[in-house]
Amino acid sequence: MVLETNIIEDSESTMTQSIKEPTNQLSRDGSRLTLPNGIVGFPEFKHVEVVYKEDELPFMHLREINEDGLEFIVPEPYGHFPGYDVEISKEDLEQLGIEKAEDVHLMNIVAVDPNTGNATINLAAPLVFNKNTLEGKQVIIKNVQHFSATHSLNAEEEKE
């Protein structure tokens, strides 16, 4: 199943492209990724890898490459949210050396409430990676008002 995600640059420099992407190789080949500035609130979360268990797919884990490092749940990004058009600023794209939408790999952080088992996904601040350099950062998208940082993933809810 293939869905489109549009990456739209800032209005000052307009680059609008659609990308169609099946399951992304970047997630599944054990690539080591770097977040030079960490993520918001966790500047030390820099050297990370993606790991997964077959029975948890499409959810994976993004974790620090050291013994007791931090770990987050991330789903494979494409194929779940039609209409998830992210606007990323020119500055953020430049900082990551991203020149076209095909270079982009998105990951969204999932938070699970340990008491209720309810989960939400942060659509407002995806982790944006450059597929070629394997470097990324957590980007607060420019059209942040359209997407929730706590979008519910619960099965019972019908999303619009």
Binding site: I73, P75, E94, T120, N122, K159
Partner: protein, 81 residues
Amino acid sequence: MLVLSRKAQEGVIINDNIEIKIAQIDGDTVKLAIKAPKEVSIHRKEVYESVKKGNEAAFKDKGETKVPFALVEGLKKKQVR
């Protein structure tokens, strides 16, 4: 926190390479113009705080990293649509 007063069109310079100017004052709204190197991120405070809180809630302690079964099933169902 350093507190100082500026009038419209006046500014401050931080760390020799960040400039904040009061572009316009309109009633209770102040428009800021900010110039900074591209690696310096700038966000509305409440947006930043909400993302930070979200990340903190998402952080899994070692040993608590199992994805709830219902969640996986739920998302699989959505995928099939």
